[in-house]
């Protein structure tokens, strides 16, 4: 973009939505040039719309100037999805952060995309309701961002990811028009197509969400295991037995130590692996379910079983599990988190293989993952100042994805593809599969103005793409 084009864009944006809603200083732009995975080029402008009308106005400016728009929630994403790969306009929803309406009787809420995930559950708790998906970033990440990535979290095991909770969407299309879609409407499930599309099909301006009734009783239990494999075996067995806890999470010793030093929630420090189990429901059922699950855990080698009795204790355990990322700085200068998913029976083998790959590459690995869903989050720990480490991490990351695919799994369970894994997509999908997905993009965003250079492999034209070599984009937080 030439300097005069940038000036022209900025003045058009200011004219459209006012100077107080357009950021252009280098310091401001820098703050919006990254997400939880990487940094990218500085956008030409950051816009902070207050209304759907503002969003439309910005889309029209973008269309007139040919500039791309990258919608952005809190920037906590882990795949470079909110980074403006081609510059242009970054649209932050920090001012569209309200709940618009609440229908407690029908358990529905309409929210603006900038509302923080955890806020929603907090607001509706007094009505005996809560919102199901709870990504670990939930105290910061927004429902718009969660919708874009089809976010999950520990409770996706029981309640499903975002797509099972989004009932309808208002979005601004590539022409700048406001479109409302709903599961209640006749016709194609455009709502389902938009959830998880990572901001590439339209810009979401309001979301209708399904709320759930708070369970009567909740228990969070912690079991210690002699190794990650046996903990994974226990999870496979709990799932296979048809038991229905509301969360099944595993942390290995590396992670537990870091987390304990940071949060002091009372996880056993001497165990090689810790299994976190949550059971919810009617009080008597919860007690019975805990007994059964504890039995399965013991028969798979659990060394101890403890259940948190008070809400405060429960909250502390969850806070440290969900805050694990914040504690990683204690164990290594840099880390790279993966998000592959395997069929649940393949968990123990996948975990074993991840350890081998890390060791072959001379890297330490920590595991903290949504075991009930088979969703792995291996953390490759390293120090970027050591020559060769970044290459080793890239190689190990690629090997882990390839391994999980070979086990019948896939490359992202909840974080998304974004920039990070776009060139790995051909490992999972054929040219025809990708070309079919591209047809959807053609309809919604023929000019590739919404979040360009994401999801689809680089250089992809009609799916004519090949798997690229393992690389890590410049600017990655490694």
């Amino acid at each position: 973009m030439t300097g005069s084009a940038v000036d022209d864009l900025r003045s058009r944006l200011i004219e459209a939505i006012g100077p107080e809603s357009v950021l252009t200083s280098p310091e401001d732009l820098t703050a919006y040039a990254f997400d939880g995975f990487c940094s990218g080029p500085l956008p030409a402008a950051v816009v902070l719309p207050r209304t759907t009308h503002d969003v439309s106005a910005v889309v029209r400016v973008a269309r007139a100037t040919g500039e791309p728009i990258v919608p952005r929630g809190a920037g906590t994403g882990l795949c470079g999805g909110a980074v403006a790969n081609l510059g242009g306009i970054v649209m932050s929803f920090s001012r569209m952060n309200r709940m618009l309406s609440l229908d407690t009787r029908n358990r529905r809420a309409r929210v603006q995309p900038g509302l923080v995930n955890a806020e929603l559950s907090r607001i509706v708790a007094g009505d005996g309701l809560f919102f199901g998906p709870d990504p670990s970033s939930q105290k910061t990440s927004t429902l718009g961002g969660n919708t874009a990535t089809n976010a999950g979290g520990p409770h996706a095991f029981a309640y499903g990811s975002m797509s099972a909770h989004v009932l309808g969407i208002e979005y601004v299309d590539e022409a700048g028009d406001v479109v409302t879609v709903s599961l209640d409407d006749a016709g194609y499930d455009l709502t389902g197509a938009l959830v998880g599309s990572e901001g590439t099909l339209g810009i979401v301006t309001a979301i209708d969400l399904r709320l759930m009734r708070l369970p009567e009783a909740v228990r969070v239990c912690v079991a210690a295991f002699p190794d990650v494999e046996s903990a994974s075996e226990a999870v496979s067995a709990i799932v296979a037995a048809g038991l229905l806890p509301t969360a099944l999470e595993i942390m290995d010793r590396t992670i537990v130590r870091a987390v304990e030093e940071h949060f002091h929630a009372g996880f056993p420090m001497d165990a090689e692996a810790v299994l976190l189990v949550e059971v919810a429901g009617e009080a008597g059922d919860v007690e019975a379910a805990e007994r059964t699950i504890a039995g399965v855990a013991r028969s798979h080698g659990a060394l101890s079983w403890r259940s948190a009795t008070s809400p405060r204790e429960r909250e502390a355990l969850w806070q440290s599990r969900k805050g694990a990322a914040a504690a990683f700085g204690r164990i290594a200068p840099n880390y790279y988190i993966q998000d592959a998913t395997v069929p649940r029976t393949k968990l123990p083998a996948a975990i074993r293989r991840v350890a081998e790959i890390a060791s072959d590459c001379g890297l330490k690995v920590g595991n903290v993952f949504h075991a009930g869903d088979g969703n792995l989050h291996p953390l490759l720990l390293f120090d970027r100042r050591i020559p060769g480490h970044i290459e080793a991490v890239a190689h190990a990351g690629h090997e882990i994805l390839a391994t999980c695919i070979a086990f019948g799994g896939t490359i992202s369970g909840e974080h998304g593809i974004g920039t990070e894994k776009r060139d790995s997509l051909p490992l999972v999908f054929s040219d025809d599969d990708l070309a079919t997905m591209a047809r959807l993009r053609d309809v919604f965003d023929p000019r590739r103005a919404f979040n360009p250079e994401k999801i689809f492999p680089s250089g992809a034209v009609c799916g004519e793409v090949r798997a690229a070599q393992a690389t890590i984009p410049a600017g990655t937080w490694l």
């Binding site: 996706a156 797509s163 209640d184 016709g187 869903d373 999908f429 079919t436 959807l440």
Partner: protein, 422 residues
């Protein structure tokens, strides 16, 4: 020619029209090759499963060939310990249910006439069953699919894992599309463990108790997996002729939860003045299946069944509207009200076949005006031609048309059968 064809291909007629040919693919490659051939030759194809829900779609604008998917009926992959299964789309829902039941699992599709209905047809129809408030919609259980597009492209999306955000979830577009974008050839599901106990409670609902009973049931602590108020449908459900409504509640869960629910229900209904609540423990699956079959059960050529979707709170108001109009049009109205989801199933009929066609036109025009989000569930062929499948078109119709044009530019798959003439 058409008459001969009609004799040759019973069961493939649509709104009085017959195909020139019925093709029965034996594998996905054959399906792809045949679709490509149709596409090239400009022949319009309608895909058939068990022919149980074809009334959902409008009459095709063109109809040259039928594709019968029922030979594609194999289990592709089933790992019970993973709680996932992959099946070919022509497998019947009953066969899928049997396969899963052997391992104590299920998928809550709640399809009518499951021994005929196919998995692919049930998904393509976007069928919404009464247990979805508890378990979610069919779309939430499909974790991946392989579909064949009209140009012969075989495309998969999703996979065999329960949590997956890799690429667009194109599968969601095929579900509920009535086969107008692509043909689902294979579907992958996540499954659930069969609940420990299933129990149905049935109570006769004298008119004076009805409103209070509904209110009390809506406030139960232990929520039912399905809660229906049925007026009419006597033969379909239990053969008991009843002018009064009946309430049917399905409870699923642990023995403890179901016992607690039973106590709550007895007291909730008792407080509303309902005389007696009967429990069904042994024939729960068949009793429940009869109710779902009733959603689409025709009365010869003298009935039409609609479903009006909306919030549970305005069920009674919607029913009152239809009841008043039915009376005015001399139509008999039978209803199923889904208290959990807000669906209102309404079957209108006459005693004499010759009278029906006289009265249905006015009622049809009325419901399209007065009740948005109402669709036709079942109607005999001759009557179906007179009806419009949906009472209104969504505001996003232009985008839907563009999708159709991008997936099926030549209008090969079921042209004209979908919303807004898509």
């Amino acid at each position: 020619m058409a008459v001969e064809a009609a004799r040759e291909f019973p069961g493939f007629g649509l709104a009085g029209r017959m195909p020139e040919r019925v093709f029965v693919p034996q594998n996905i490659d054959e399906l792809a090759a045949f679709l490509r051939e149709c596409d090239d030759a400009g022949r319009a194809a309608v895909v058939f499963g068990g022919n149980t829900l074809q009334s959902l779609g409008n009459a095709p604008a063109r109809y040259d060939v039928a594709i019968d998917m029922r030979a594609l009926a194999a289990v592709v992959e089933y790992e019970p310990r993973d709680f996932t299964i992959s099946v070919e789309a022509g497998m019947t829902v009953a066969a899928l249910e049997r396969e899963l039941a052997e391992r104590g699992q299920f998928v809550p599709l709640d399809a009518p006439r499951p021994s005929l209905a196919t998995v692919g047809g049930t998904l393509a129809s976007g069928w919404l069953g009464p247990r979805r408030a508890r378990y979610g919609r069919s779309r939430d259980y499909v974790i991946g699919s392989t579909a064949v597009l009209p140009d012969g492209t075989v495309a998969k999306s999703g996979g065999m894992v329960v949590k997956n955000v890799t690429g667009y979830d194109v599968t969601k577009l095929y579900v509920g599309s009535l086969g107008t974008l692509g043909t689902i050839a294979k579907a992958n599901f996540k499954t659930l463990p069969v609940p420990e106990v299933r129990r149905i409670a049935i109570a006769a609902l004298p008119e004076r108790t009805s409103a209070r009973a509904v209110a009390n049931i809506s406030a139960l602590g232990e929520e039912p997996a399905a809660a229906l108020v049925i007026r009419g449908f006597a033969n379909e459900i239990d053969g008991r002729d009843s002018i009064e409504g009946r309430m049917l509640l399905l409870f699923e869960g642990t023995a403890r939860a179901v016992e607690r629910a039973t106590r709550e229900v007895r007291s909730a209904l008792g407080a509303a003045g309902v005389p007696e609540t009967r429990l069904v423990d042994r024939e729960v699956p068949s009793t429940f299946a009869h109710v779902i079959d009733a959603y689409v059960a025709p009365l010869g050529a003298r009935s039409t069944t609609y479903c009006s979707y909306g919030l549970p709170a305005d069920l009674a108001a919607r029913r009152d509207l239809l009841a008043a109009r039915a009376q005015q049009n001399e139509l008999i109205l039978e209803t199923i009200e889904d208290l959990c989801n807000g669906d209102l199933v309404a079957r209108v009929s006459t005693n004499m076949t010759s009278e029906f066609v006289v009265h249905i036109g006015d009622f049809e025009a009325y419901r399209r005006d007065a009740l948005p989000r109402t669709r036709v569930l079942a109607a005999p062929g001759a009557i179906r031609e007179l009806l419009e499948g949906w009472s209104d078109v969504p505001s996003s119709l232009d985008t839907m048309r563009a999708l159709k044009a991008r997936f099926d530019p030549r209008g090969t798959l079921s042209p004209g059968r979908f919303v807004g003439g898509i």
